[in-house]
Symmetry: C2
Subunit: 105 residues, 2 copies
């Protein structure tokens, strides 16, 4: 019934359940980036972005290292990319279905 594992699993999904955090993952797909390079690609405040990065880090999705005064983030578990791709596949199929059901009336 109420399973510890399901809690852990849903925590990872929860970390990905925000558009800004998806955008961050997509940005990191081309390689590691410092916060200073992530910031201008998002429309969210510096402090808010920092909080989103923390959420991703807490679930092991990204990791970070310091480089002088900068902090460099990268994706830690590459499975995340596959997950995003799978979701996109689901969405595309849903859209096709919607189109079909619209033309059938």
């Amino acid at each position: 019934m109420s399973n510890m594992g399901n809690q852990l699993i849903s925590n990872v999904f929860k970390a990905l359940a925000h558009p800004t955090r998806i955008q961050i993952v997509k940005l990191l797909r081309n390689g590691e980036l410092c916060v200073c390079d992530i910031l201008p690609n998002l429309d969210s405040e510096q402090s808010n972005t920092s909080q989103h990065l923390t959420v991703l880090k807490n679930q092991g999705i990204v990791e970070s290292r310091k480089d002088g005064s900068k902090v460099i983030y990268s994706v830690k578990n590459k499975e995340v990319y596959e997950m995003v791709d799978l979701v996109e596949a689901i969405i595309l199929r849903q859209i096709e279905e919607t189109k079909t059901s619209l033309s059938n009336r």
Copy 2:
């Protein structure tokens, strides 16, 4: 920047961001089930379970059909199973890492 697609993607992750909904997906992995057979396997109220099923359905993760007075649910987009497996892989790796870092002191 603020991308429509990221919103759609995060909506799917959000649908999976709850332990009860993960449990439902796992139950359906063995095949379709009526609500009456899902209910006793969860520890959440009937009305609450119904709401969770609606969330999954709204994101195209499950679908349903009627059979007499019963409603049968099944997973609609099988990618969901892969996603759960990928998350489990991430979690296992994180646990290994934690174990290692604990023994190294």
